[in-house]
Symmetry: C2
């Protein structure tokens, strides 16, 4: 067993012990701890900025882009934001202890299904250092211990944030080892985490496709994946053109780099020519590049659309995350649904129609985490759903599907009270 394996397994064992203690904390105790953690972040701002400076120096030396360095940078205002985020989580209702169902059996047994923490959660991420705080506090609020593995470029920042959280929390009663960051940039750490199913109950990779693939390949415990969003908007024959255009522009352009942005626009054949004449100038104004099927290509050429290319088969599966969209014309709603089921990623898909029958068919038959009628796909988001907080958007079907809030970080157990029953 390598040193790193031993070190990470020790962290796992310690996290397991912490999770037992965490599971027994009352809601008000957990909220007191969370507020103490927020105060500790505020009070540690200078230390965090100093640790962050080490990461930024290394980033300079490694020639990271200015955009990457900006994502990495901790400022006083960003630290204040993190602390505020923690106080908001403290103010949310605690799902743990919620009674999900209660019933009696003819033999007199009294059964209660009650929400409980999961135990130990591993989170692997590549993004900004604030994820260290955001992810940790959602786990703690739900009574889970957490082991974090962030991007190697942010290691000193992540360690400093975790230390500030654990240190402030400890003074308020947080069990030791409730929040831990893997103190190594060794890529093998991901494999070791993913295989220690004795000490970890769930692993959540938040990052690019390659990272998620690596976790899925090695994992011996449940993984909740946050894969791509290849999201569609289908403009049906009876769509209101103004609404359809507003939704398409919002879904494509408001924030193109996120997973709930639209990648493919599908048009009903009967309105395709009219709609493209109506919408084309706005698409052009927004500088949207279009990858069009043969029929749409011809229509766009007729109006001399400035940025159009013929789509090939790969276009239908592509998450552009940019001001590019695929465009397809279909003969009916069934063909639109078939396209979405074949090429989509089952994330978020919308129909724009004034025909309730078509809408209900689309809602029923499209097997995606979130299916919309006359609204933008951009609403697939824990905050927009009213969950108060979000750990991510699951593209899995099991345990959690779509936006994951606090409830999705819990499991349940059955309590059975009897008076001597035997079988």
């Amino acid at each position: 067993m390598s040193d790193l394996t031993g070190q990470i397994q020790t962290m796992g064992r310690q996290a397991r012990a912490a999770s037992r203690a965490l599971a027994q904390l009352t809601t008000s105790k957990k909220n007191t701890i969370l507020r103490a953690m927020a105060d500790s972040l505020d009070a540690s701002a200078d230390r965090l900025i100093a640790a962050n400076a080490q990461d930024l120096d290394r980033a300079d030396a490694a020639g990271l882009s200015d955009a990457a360095k900006d994502r990495l940078r901790l400022s006083h205002s960003r630290i204040t934001e993190m602390a505020e985020g923690i106080r908001q989580v403290a103010s949310l209702p605690d799902p743990v202890g919620e009674i999900l169902r209660q019933w009696s059996r003819p033999n007199g047994l009294d059964l209660t299904k009650i929400r409980t923490p999961i135990g130990v959660i591993g989170i692997i991420y590549e993004s900004r250092p604030n994820v260290t705080s955001d992810a940790a506090v959602l786990c703690l609020k739900t009574g889970n211990a957490v082991i974090l593995r962030g991007g190697s470029e942010a290691l000193q920042s992540n360690l400093a944030i975790a230390e500030a959280l654990q240190c402030g929390g400890t003074r308020a009663g947080l069990p030791d080892h409730a929040v831990q960051v893997i103190p190594s940039t060794d890529r093998d750490a991901v494999r070791i985490m993913a295989q220690m199913n004795e000490w970890m109950d769930l692993i959540i990779p938040r990052g690019g496709h390659a990272l998620i693939e690596a976790v899925v390949t090695h994992a011996r415990m449940p993984v909740i994946k946050h894969y791509d969003g290849v999201c569609h908007v289908f403009v049906d024959a009876s769509a209101d053109f103004d609404m359809a255009l507003a939704i398409a522009i919002n879904a494509k352009c408001q924030r193109p780099g996120v997973c709930n942005a639209m990648e493919t626009l599908i048009l009903h054949q009967s309105i395709a020519a009219d709609f493209l004449r109506f919408a084309g100038p706005t698409f052009a104004e927004q500088a949207i590049e279009i990858r069009a099927d043969a029929e749409a290509y011809e229509l766009l050429n007729e109006q001399a659309y400035p940025h159009v290319r013929a789509a090939d088969e790969t276009a239908w599966r592509t998450e552009y995350l940019a001001l590019i969209m695929s465009l397809r014309i279909v003969p009916n709603v069934a063909a639109a649904i078939a396209h979405i089921e074949t090429y989509g990623s089952h994330h978020s898909d919308a129909i724009i129609t004034e025909d309730p029958e078509m809408a209900e068919r689309f809602l029923r038959e499209v097997d995606s985490a979130t299916v919309y009628w006359n609204a933008s796909t951009r609403f697939t988001d824990g905050g927009e759903f009213g969950f108060g907080a979000e750990i991510g958007i699951s593209t899995d079907k099991l345990h959690a599907r779509g936006p994951m809030g606090l409830e999705e970080l819990t499991t349940y157990k059955y309590l059975i009270r009897g008076c001597g029953q035997v079988r």
Copy 2:
């Protein structure tokens, strides 16, 4: 790509297509199909028995034990039982389409969380051929396509059962390829199934530890594991001795070979000597072999208990599945809980006490799928819970924990109805 890989992946692709059609069937259509499948099993009895005879011949040649051959054997009465089981599942309520939550947002979006099928489920099992029918119909009732991989010794029986189900179902409107059995005894089939996450959404291994380990090692999709039950009964200081003895005997002896049977009896020190004097003769009468800790060993020797050995560390982790039990004496409820958390399998654990405070502490602190106060661990069972049917007992914490009924074979999606909302 090997022939077997190609063959199994084709089955996966066909199952995916079937699952899309299955998801759109109404409850009454599904029930009509299930009843047609039951009738088809009845009508195919002679063919099933002929296929089973081939398996039995091979079992003879391979020198299988009489007990194994008995488990393998299909008789007219066993086929009637399978068919009756299907009719029972047809009569259960359909969880698909159930509205789990419905709410509106300040922007006027109307959100509905609705229960849906999972998609394609793989079930790998080692047991009797009736599992082919039992597992398939639970998946179909919940709108899922199923790919089955049974024990190699039952291959002809399993193929014949699946054919009878699919054939009878097809006449009533079952989509093609909704029920498929892997037509190969190649061990590699398990690995191939476990890796085709494009075509399979969930895999459920039902069998011994080695089988589950193999699936967990290879799986790229969620696995719901059905591991061992190392279940405990803790007799507290204030326990009613008659009740404690009746529960211990029931939990240990009524069916020792199942996962919810007790493996370890824990006694509070203050009543240990009295309780063993009271219970010893009954334990001896039942011929229970005891692996005792030092203190219990001495007490049992004093009363010349006939079948006692000193327990070593491995005893506490052992699932005997036989008339053997580990016996431990602890100073208090905290030590009992610590023992269960350290050595148990988080399946089913009971406290016998007249003290509600101790009971509630035990219920709160023991992190097992099912925690009992004054009842036998043997009640951890879908039927006993009132679920009507059971695919197994999950020892996982994610998606499904404890007895898995029809609801646990479903997921959900969000339907969002708007009037043009954008972000």
